[in-house]
């Protein structure tokens, strides 16, 4: 473990921390642009966070210690995951041996779990609705996620994201194999579901549609800022797994020099803009599904994951 590796690891966490609002801003702006409106500025999420961190904190009387600790737990979980995955470098950095893909998934879910607890904690009706809906969606999404991980493991014969990255860069036959492309499709549907996009999540905050918003309705001020930032970081992390592990495994730093890290950060932002464009297309073309049709896109994702496993076995 050299000092350079430690610095690179810190740079990875900082990249997730500082660039995640930019991706959110990009999606929000260009979604409006597609509809021929002007849209908010690219840096609007940063301004929102700044504003929230300078506001007064209002806490419900019924809130217990869970209410205080949940945002911190969610935020910490999102800062832990970038240690385990290739954000800027394509080789493992110090502490990245703490967990494999499943470990990263576990920590991501842990953040969601704490926010669910906090939503139930204050005893408001909206919190209950929000957490029950979130749990319902994750019950539908988790099996697919696990199956995608299983298929990745069978494809690369390893559970480490770095190994998958190297395999896909080195072997074009694996990159273009049906297994890999089915995995990409299945993960893309999961990405839409987990980052609060259509066809399940609504972009307008009306009570009957609220899922993610209903959970954090009781929060205000800095704690709300922390939660919003944590959800943007979750989006960034899922984009990282999607791009750097599955779809676009190129353009990461191999040596870990300062120039390489900076170039990798720029490449990562460009890659994420590409994925964000796809997400914007889906958000524009697709309308929100009604509650009893949530299982349809997720069943399609499950089917694709099963196909990926099957295609891998007959390869």
């Amino acid at each position: 473990m050299t000092a350079r590796d430690v610095l690179a690891q810190i740079a990875q966490v900082l990249a997730v921390l500082l660039l995640s609002p930019l991706i959110q801003g990009f999606i929000l702006k260009f979604e409006e642009c597609v509809q021929r409106a002007q849209g908010p500025s690219l840096v609007q999420p940063y301004r929102d966070l700044w504003k929230l961190f300078h506001k007064q904190l209002v806490v419900p009387e019924t809130a217990s210690w869970i209410f205080w600790s949940a945002p911190v737990a969610a935020f910490t979980a999102m800062m832990t995951v970038p240690l385990l995955i290739p954000v800027l470098t394509d080789y493992p950095l110090p502490l990245s041996n703490m967990g494999d893909i499943l470990g990263g998934g576990l920590i991501l879910t842990l953040g969601t779990f704490f926010v669910n607890l906090a939503a139930l904690d204050s005893g408001s009706a909206y919190g209950g609705i929000g957490s029950s809906r979130t749990v319902m969606v994750s019950i539908l999404a988790e099996p697919t996620l696990i199956l995608v991980f299983v298929a990745i493991t069978l494809m690369a014969k390893a559970m480490l994201p770095f190994v998958v990255n190297h395999l896909l860069v080195a072997d074009a036959a694996v990159y273009w194999s049906p297994t890999h492309l089915f995995l990409v499709l299945a993960f893309f549907i999961l990405l839409l579901v987990e980052t609060d996009r259509l066809p399940i999540h609504s972009s307008t905050h009306i009570e009957v549609y609220m899922i993610e918003e209903a959970r954090i309705l009781e929060y205000s001020g800095p704690l709300l800022g922390v939660l919003k930032w944590a959800s943007m970081m979750k989006q960034f992390i899922l984009y990282t797994i999607f791009c750097n592990v599955l779809v676009l495994p190129w353009g990461l730093s191999r040596e870990g020099t300062a120039v390489g890290i900076a170039a990798a950060a720029i490449t990562v932002v460009l890659k994420f803009f590409l994925v964000a464009c796809l997400v914007i297309v889906v958000e524009t073309a697709q309308s929100r599904l009604r509650f009893y049709r949530y299982q349809e896109p997720l069943a399609a994702a499950f089917l694709l994951a099963v196909l990926a496993v099957v295609a891998n076995q007959i390869r």
């Binding site: 036959a173 049906p178 492309l181 007959i314 390869r315």
Partner: protein, 226 residues
Amino acid sequence: MLVTHLTPLASSFFSLLAIASLVLSFVMLGSQWLRDYMYAFGLQSWLIAVLSALMAFYGGYPELYLIALFTALFRGLVLPYLVLRILRRMQVSRELHLVVQRSSSLVVGSLCVMFSLVIAYRIAGAVGLTQNVVVLALTVMLSMKLIGFLMLAVRHEAISHILGLLLLENGIFLGSQILIPGMPLLIELVILFDLLVAVVCFGVLVRYLLAHAGTTSSRDLKRLVG
């Protein structure tokens, strides 16, 4: 034979395109709107065109580039355009009365795939070719044919019948492209133009049905008239 000595990259391309076509035929089987059904067919034709071009590249058959171009042009653009025109003239945009529910027809379709996998293993074993690409191509070809037949059997609308027939044709074309890529150019062209004629005939038939029977659903055509 080309398929027996493909590079790993080429065989993963071919299996990808074959499986993607099979998935698209399931999209056709499960779709509710006739328009989606047709878009899936157009996309499938484009995939088959890409497959022909790749075959031309890896096998060194320059005439297949021409076939790829024609496939993309006729199957990917002209046929969907003609079917869209027919669709626009008809008042129906979806299948209203289903013999078999969409989800059950998906299950029947997957049974067809299993059946064709068994047959494909038998055929490949009998011919002495046991490469995965060969078995896969045979499976996809047979199951696309069976799914095409299934759609002809369980759907009522005339437009579904056209698309079922076209799917059947696509399956044969895909299999022939992978298994025997060196077919004479003339035969391939004849197949392509045959389809064009079929769709035009169906267009005339649909107009006739609309004018004389007022419907294009075979459900309403049970009564004999003199």
